[in-house]
């Protein structure tokens, strides 16, 4: 390639790296922790060899877990556990990170018009995408290197640790290429991310089906190739060549597409939308729903799948928990009946995740204020109180929906492993028992948003407190009053404990009072 085509690449690369340095650092560390934490927790949860073997034997039979994580190989070793539990999720996570990096420095730049400005300088046609790929390369290599390093230091076997890191890097590069191809196809960043995300999801799904029933399908997926390297259970290097080939093909394809299109345009013309609003988009409730629809669907799918994974473990609880106190506390909240305790913990876990959705949804009107859109809407004849209530209504209903879906997910997982279809709906009501606490966290977020709009990020603090109390309350021996701060601490641990109408009503009452206070405070303050 002549210099003419890539002039300016290094300057652009330096700029991208500068902008992404925290992202590179953060995700590199996060991915390393994902792998390393598997080794650490397996070691702590199953200290005796018998325990690990017992758990491994249970997991090897569990088709749901195999579909979620990958082929069960050498699960009675720490390395095997790390590979099994972390490799598929690690590849997906890194894929999503490089997807954001690549599209941000290519399609988003074009969409914003900044790319025109850059390309008006001495910049080759391939320079912006090349700089984006190099940045994604740095993210991938840094993550892979940290993974390998953390495992070698742990200490696990060096060659296998290197393979786990190298495979991860190659997966990252493979999805870098996919994202770059997607960025050539459509003219919107959102669209490009949609395509790249779908490819990553397909890669994950193909190997899931392949690992459980049709082995050939796993060989169509980059994640499948990564796991076919079999780190810690008969390591082989040749599947890495498949990944390498995919990287080359993807990048070449992206380059070929790039020279065949105009800058700013996609190969697929952007689709026009409706010239008129449909009947659903006729008020502030319709608007609030329309703007959050995608998020609600995303959270629902995510929590359904998470619930599915939890539910599928329901028959293996005893083997899973092991004999350590740590395992008992983390997985059953100290409840004597293991299965009930396990489900109580998982329902609480799903409720905490739902509270994440509820908090972000509660803060959504804040971004409407910041962008000036609230101003435009509020110039119409509706009070600010009604405007905010519309958003709150959508948040409350969507939160309940997400909780129900999460409950269905855990039920479906349990129904699958017990072959008892009735179980599918049996966790919906218990899951809804947590609704008052989730709504209370949302109400606190509303109050923060109303009183201190510029400090709205503080609205996440109560959720952090609730998470800390749940996971570390007993381990850290937190004082009574700190636990008291978590609304979940006031509700019974269903199904291990009996539901309490009085407790639910009390927490719901507090949620209503706090929410109403937020609503009133909002009506008294400036917008913007």
């Amino acid at each position: 390639m002549s210099n003419e085509l890539v002039a300016g690449t290094l300057t652009l690369w330096a700029r991208s790296l500068r902008g992404d340095r925290w992202l590179v650092l953060g995700w590199g560390v996060a991915l390393a922790v994902l792998y390393w934490a598997q080794a650490w927790s397996v070691d702590r949860l199953y200290p005796g060899e018998g325990e690990l073997a017992r758990m491994a034997a249970a997991m090897e039979r569990n088709q749901a877990m195999i579909a979620l994580a990958g082929p069960a190989r050498s699960l009675d070793t720490i390395g095997g556990q790390v590979t099994w539990q972390a490799s598929a999720f690690g590849a997906v996570l890194l894929g999503l990170v490089v997807m954001v990096v690549v599209t941000r420095h290519t399609r988003a730049e074009e969409e914003s018009g900044r790319d025109d400005l850059v390309r008006s300088g001495v910049v080759g046609r391939f320079a912006p995408p090349a700089a984006a790929v190099l940045t994604a390369l740095v993210v991938s290599v840094f993550s892979g290197a940290l993974v390998t390093l953390s495992l070698v230091v742990y200490p696990l076997d060096v060659a296998d640790s290197v393979a786990l890191g190298v495979g991860l890097v190659l997966c990252g590069l493979c999805f870098t290429g996919t994202s770059l191809v997607a960025a050539q196809l459509v003219s919107s960043t959102r669209g490009a991310r949609g395509i790249a995300g779908a490819v990553i999801a397909a890669a994950y799904a193909l190997r899931a089906v392949g690992d459980v029933s049709v082995p050939a399908l796993s060989w169509l997926s980059p994640i499948g190739w990564y796991q076919a390297m079999q780190p810690f259970s008969g390591l082989r290097w040749w599947p890495a060549l498949l990944l390498l080939a995919a990287v080359v093909v993807n990048l070449a394809l992206a380059g070929a597409l790039l020279v065949r299109r105009d800058i700013g345009a996609g190969l697929v013309a952007s689709r026009p939308g409706p010239a008129r609003a449909g009947p659903a988009l006729s008020g502030t409730v319709g608007l609030a729903w329309r703007l959050q629809r995608g998020g609600v669907v995303g959270w629902s799918v995510g929590l359904f799948l998470t619930g599915l994974a939890y539910g599928a473990l329901g028959t293996e609880v005893e083997d899973l928990v092991g004999d350590s106190d740590l395992g008992l506390e983390m997985m059953t909240q100290g409840v004597p009946d293991l299965v009930d305790g396990f489900f109580a913990t998982m329902l609480l876990m799903l409720a905490l995740l739902t509270a994440g959705f509820a908090t972000s949804s509660t803060l959504r009107p804040r971004s409407e204020e910041e962008s000036g859109l609230a101003e435009l809407v509020l110039s119409a004849p509706l009070g600010r109180g009604r405007w905010l209530l519309s958003w709150t209504l959508v948040t409350v209903l969507a939160t309940l929906l997400v909780l129900v879906v999460a409950g269905l997910g855990i039920g479906a997982g349990y129904a699958f492993v017990t072959a008892d279809p009735v179980q599918a709906v049996s966790f919906v009501l218990p899951q809804l028992q947590h609704a008052p606490a989730v709504l209370l966290l949302a109400a606190v977020a509303r109050l923060v948003h109303a009183l201190a709009p510029r400090l709205a990020a503080l609205a996440w603090a109560p959720l952090v407190v609730a998470v800390v109390v749940m996971f570390f309350g007993d381990l850290l021996d937190l004082p009574r009053w700190v636990r008291w701060l978590s609304p979940f601490d006031h509700l019974p641990l269903v199904p291990a404990e009996d539901p309490s109408l009085a407790a639910s009503a009390a927490v719901l009452g507090v949620a209503l009072a706090v929410g109403a206070a937020g609503q009133l405070a909002f009506r008294r303050r400036d917008i913007g």
Partner: protein, 300 residues
Amino acid sequence: MPSDVIEVRELVKTFGRVWALDGLDLQVRAGEVHGFLGPNGSGKSTTIRVLLGLLRADSGTVRLLGGDPWRQAADLHRRLAYVPGDVSLWPTLTGGECIDLLGRLRGGLDAARRDELVERFALDPTKKGRSYSKGNRQKVALVAALAADVELLLLDEPTSGLDPLMEAEFRDCVYAYREGGGSALLSSHVLGEVEQMCDRVSIINEGRLVESGSLAEMRHLSRTAVTAQLRGPATGLDDLAGVHGLRSAGGEVSFEVSFEVDPEAVEPALRLLLEAGVTGLVSQPPTLEQLFMRHYGERR
């Protein structure tokens, strides 16, 4: 109907230690298009946001269409429409959806009027909010506001981003709207636009009213710009009180002078020119640009 659609007295609004509005007065009469002029950061948008009931006044009185914009926002908004200065749209909604949504929020809109305006402003209503240029986002907000049947328009720099053809369309729409008895407050720093469209003007700076009145009233305060070709050098002009910015260029046979002159010095200045022998003379009323420069130039 009250004779003033907007009546603001001694309005104060602070943000922390910043005094955005510092005792502002503003009056807009029914049936007039009122120009609202000021440099960036002078408090124009803050005033409009107080008028919309989005911000709460710290002190002073604000009457809008005879009501209190903070307490009666929803009721009053039935009778007004607003175009923000920097329009942002929902990235995933099309322009057409935005217009319909905003129309429905104010209780439905006239579909024929909407279509006419969409065509008039050459707007493609099928594009998503994120793919519109600044000018096109502005058009979406303009169509939504002009399609509404209201008695007051609050326009915050409504033509920023519009091309001259679209600006002309916008002016025609506002003329027609005024013919129909509507009132408007039009903030701007595009002086030509205010000069062409507005009956009266208020000039503000640093949160205070500097001057208010019809353009005719304000012109008498200002200078006349004169350029003259002369047979000989004009002597004494540089000593004459009330003559500003004198520039002269002289050759062998002809001389040219240009200067600005206060109204009371026009007559003595002309005498001096006549003495030098005038072959050509151009005198212009000051543009609003000059008014602007004078008011803000002296204060900075």
